[in-house]
């Protein structure tokens, strides 16, 4: 379909006029760049929207009509409006990444949706006909004394940007922080002043495509800590060393593992040369702070501590289950009870003949996007039973998609008969 408008509407003199307008237009454009766009582009949107029944308004191209590629239409949910209008949003992404819009708490993918319709965009501001040419038509309508309003189209919008809530893109956070983990030796070595591979909060916010809250959650789940203004992961060997020292001191000084007095543990650890802040970070990683009678008291988390010992016993190798259990029980701190349930999402069991073997396979090492997660899982095993699969996918959260929907999207479910456990395989 084509719609034409005839030249009869505009007078031939308009070519001359527009030439005169050009300089004015250029001047107005300059002012518009100053941010006073809404003042300059008097388009008469109000007159269009409040057109009285039985009346009419001429629609024309604005004297500044152009492609205006710097004008974008962004479709937003009503509930997002306050965040945007109060400057609480920003768009994040490197040149090679797809841009996302972040509110303080959520991340939205931005998708441009084109339209084949002609979308005439009319700016606000009262546009009475200052153009005498427009009034010529009305000279015979003396019964209408009002100056005639006009609607001016500033641009034809090729489409708009839609927002779709997505999971935060935190993969990169781990990569960045793993570049230069903190080591205990570092504090002893004054020569290490180079700042490469270190990231401040401001750097992370610029580099990570996630909202600030989601970045904080991500840092917490990586057990990262802010040291001298830089967010760091503490190298595992250093953490193990400190944890062992805390546990040894508990035995020496007869501390209860669910009530370690902060002042005591800090002063003893410091006298052994461990930096206070790293000790505190270790306590925070493997325990919870409680307010006790004697100031702050730490309770070590049985599951977190035992899991760490399991990982140390197992290493990267697979082991016979009995051998593993014997070693794990022996190594775990006394007073802590190990249990296989703790290992959910951390290990896989394999039956080889009559023996059961155990192998490290940690959910935290798997990709966080659903497609890549399922691909990694099916590379590991072509078929999964529900009880095995669940621990590896329950942390996947895709806004707007339920766990069932995820399974339908990424897996094929087979259940030969009603009394058999269903099996999930790749689609």
């Amino acid at each position: 379909m084509m719609i034409y408008f005839g030249p009869s509407i505009s007078k031939p003199s308009s070519s001359l006029k527009s030439a005169g307008k050009e300089s004015k237009a250029a001047k107005e454009m300059e002012m518009a760049v100053d941010g006073e766009a809404k003042e300059i582009w008097k388009g008469g949107a109000g007159s269009v929207l409040s057109l009285a029944p039985g009346s009419s308004i001429p629609v024309r191209y604005h004297s500044l009509f152009a492609s205006h590629d710097d004008l974008l239409l962004l479709e937003v949910d009503e509930k997002l409006l306050p965040d945007i209008l109060n400057h609480r949003t920003c768009i994040r992404g490197q040149p090679d990444e797809d841009a996302v819009l972040c509110t303080p708490t959520a991340t939205y993918a931005m998708k441009f949706v084109g339209t084949s319709n002609t979308v005439l965009l009319i700016p606000p501001g009262d546009a009475t006909s200052s153009n005498p040419e427009m009034l010529v038509e009305d000279t015979d309508k003396q019964d209408i004394p009002m100056p005639q309003c006009i609607a001016s189209v500033i641009k034809v919008a090729p489409g708009n940007i839609e927002l779709i809530q997505t999971a935060p893109r935190l993969e990169k956070l781990k990569t960045l922080l793993s570049q230069r983990p903190y080591r205990l030796e570092e504090d002893l070595d004054d020569g290490l002043q180079l700042k490469s591979g270190l990231y401040r909060w401001e750097d992370l916010v610029e580099l990570i495509q996630a909202s600030e809250e989601e970045i904080r959650v991500g840092l917490k789940s990586l057990s990262a800590v802010e040291l001298d203004g830089f967010w760091r992961i503490v190298d595992q060997k250093s953490m193990d060393g400190i944890l062992d020292m805390i546990l040894n001191n508990s035995i020496l000084h007869d501390w209860r593992l669910n009530a370690i007095v902060e002042d005591e543990v800090l002063s003893i650890m410091e006298s052994d040369g461990f930096p206070r802040r790293i000790v505190l970070h270790c306590l925070d990683t493997y325990g919870n702070a409680l307010d006790g009678m004697e100031g702050c008291v730490w309770s070590l988390d049985e599951k977190k501590v035992c899991l760490r010992f399991a990982a140390r016993v197992l290493g990267a190798e697979k082991m016979k289950l009995e051998v593993f259990m014997e070693k794990w029980t022996r190594n775990a701190p006394s007073g802590m009870q190990v249990s296989l349930q703790m290992l959910e999402g951390e290990v896989l069991f394999e039956k080889i003949g009559i023996e059961t073997w155990i192998r490290p396979f940690s959910v935290s090492a798997l990709p966080s996007t659903p497609a890549e997660r399922f691909a990694a899982l099916f590379r590991e095993r072509p078929k999964w039973e529900w009880k095995d699969l669940d621990p590896y996918i329950k942390d996947l959260k895709v806004p707007g998609l339920s766990a069932e929907a995820l399974l339908i999207k990424y897996t094929r479910r087979t259940q030969p008969s009603a009394d058999v456990e269903p099996v999930f395989s790749a689609r």
Partner: protein, 130 residues
Amino acid sequence: MEIRVKCRCGNGGCSEWAIVELQGVVESQVSSIVTSIQGLEIGNLCRSSSSSPETYTFTIGYHELSGSKIALKKPLLVLKKHKDDDDDEEMKNPRVELEVIGIVRHRILFKNRPKSLISRPQCKEKKLAS
């Protein structure tokens, strides 16, 4: 890179823009004499005298479209991209900012094929205005 989305309108004070949307493409028949289409009239938008439903006609040349005003399910924000390239060095990223300069809550949509007018469009308009 981080692009802040700013807004100077203050709370709820964003000025409302309008959208007139139609199927197809509007083409100017003014070809060689007028090089630019700025300032040129596209057509005439009339609201019918019956208040409900709110119907409109849009007369473009000898075509007449009929349509209606529709509230958008989700509002559209009009953003303006500001590029602040004070220092022209290629090394430095120019700071980009987006400013909310308006909001669209309604559009007047003409989704039907146009009707050809036999009479001149002006006559139609006068009849409605009287």
